[in-house]
């Protein structure tokens, strides 16, 4: 398993050896810390929970601090668990695995897991588009621009038959809220890695606005 959390920095373009221009999204990913190992015995499934984005201790709740093992043992709480070097992290996320036993709490994951040419899936929250019409939301063609049309340029057209069916079918694509949902872009190619700055360049676009949290893992279908 290869997986990381990162912050989308934005898009740019880079050259390959042959002089082709490749559009890439730059993501600042890792270092991530394994904060919890979930096993079938204990939790019913195998996964690791990782944390990303160092922050100040005062920005976390005591519940979060306790989970990360950042509260000290004292006489009142002699059994309180103490961490193995996890810093205070802002974001937590889980990666489901076949076998989580090879990971241990406190382990550090970096971009070095990946190399150029790898295929990855990137999950993020898409930009919110608000209440969008059918042209933007589903790529409907809209109406005619000329021939005496008025108010019909971006209309959805007919939404069903008349008295034969007498109702609009369920699931009929209409205007409504678009975006601001979790989305996974699958099978994207890793183009370049910068291990010093913890950067990863992925070919093409990735869901979400700049500065948003994204989850990278090895491609499910490749």
């Amino acid at each position: 398993m290869k997986g990381l959390l990162g912050i989308k920095l934005g898009m740019t373009q880079i050259f390959d050896e042959a002089g082709n221009v490749i559009p890439v999204t730059i993501i600042q990913a890792g270092p991530c810390y394994v904060t919890q190992v979930k096993t079938t015995d204990k939790d019913g499934y195998e996964a690791i929970q990782v944390g990303f984005g160092e922050t100040k201790e005062k920005r976390l709740t005591r519940g979060e601090l306790g989970h990360l093992g950042l509260l000290k043992r004292d006489q009142k709480h002699p059994s309180r668990k103490v961490s193995k070097g996890i810093p205070p992290v802002r974001h937590l996320a889980e990666f489901r695995l076949k076998d989580a036993s090879e990971y241990e709490i406190g382990q550090v994951l970096t971009v070095e897991q990946f190399q150029a040419g790898d295929r990855v899936d990137v999950t993020g929250k898409t930009k919110g588009r608000g209440f969008a019409g059918t042209v933007k939301r589903y790529g409907f063609g809209g109406g005619l621009k000329t021939h005496g049309q008025s108010d019909r340029h971006r209309a959805p057209g007919s939404i069903g038959a008349t008295s034969g069916t007498a109702h609009v079918f369920k699931g009929k694509r209409m205007a409504g809220h678009m975006g601001n949902v979790r989305y996974t872009a699958q099978n994207l190619q890793v183009v370049r890695i910068d291990t010093e700055k913890n950067l990863i360049a992925i070919k093409g676009a990735v869901p979400g606005p700049k500065g948003s949290l994204v989850k990278i893992r090895d491609a499910a279908k490749s």
Binding site: G10, T12, F15, V21, V24, K197
Partner: protein
């Protein structure tokens, strides 16, 4: 800060290439692939009508008059490894950043006043 990181994969400007300015008369030597394993260098001579500075996308457009008086414009990426050499023949005195007005002029009217240093 994040903007700096975004530029982390940018290439450096090629030091062997001269600075190109709007109005310059240039010859650009650019490698092209004609089929497989058949690489050659093509030369494009003309006037620079536009320069864009934008990191890796830094580019300039060369306008030349091809046969039959047809204007041909070609845009080159400054940092592309395909650019072999750029020769600057003369600079021109120009008062605009983009010389799009040249598109509407032909022959003697499409000349630019030379600028000497």
């Amino acid at each position: 800060m994040s903007d700096l990181l975004l530029k982390a994969f940018d290439k450096e400007d090629n030091e062997n290439l001269p600075e190109v300015r709007v109005g310059d008369s240039v010859t650009v030597h650019v490698r092209i692939n004609v089929g497989e394993r058949n690489e050659r260098v093509q030369m494009v001579r003309g006037t620079v009508i536009r320069v864009r500075n934008s990191g890796n996308n830094k580019n300039f457009t060369v306008r030349r008059i091809a046969s039959n008086g047809v204007g041909v414009e070609r845009t080159f990426l400054m940092r592309s490894p395909l650019i072999e050499k750029i020769e600057v023949h003369r600079h021109a005195h120009v008062r605009r950043a983009q010389l799009y007005f040249l598109r509407n002029l032909r022959g003697k009217a499409a000349r630019l006043r030379e600028k000497r240093f």
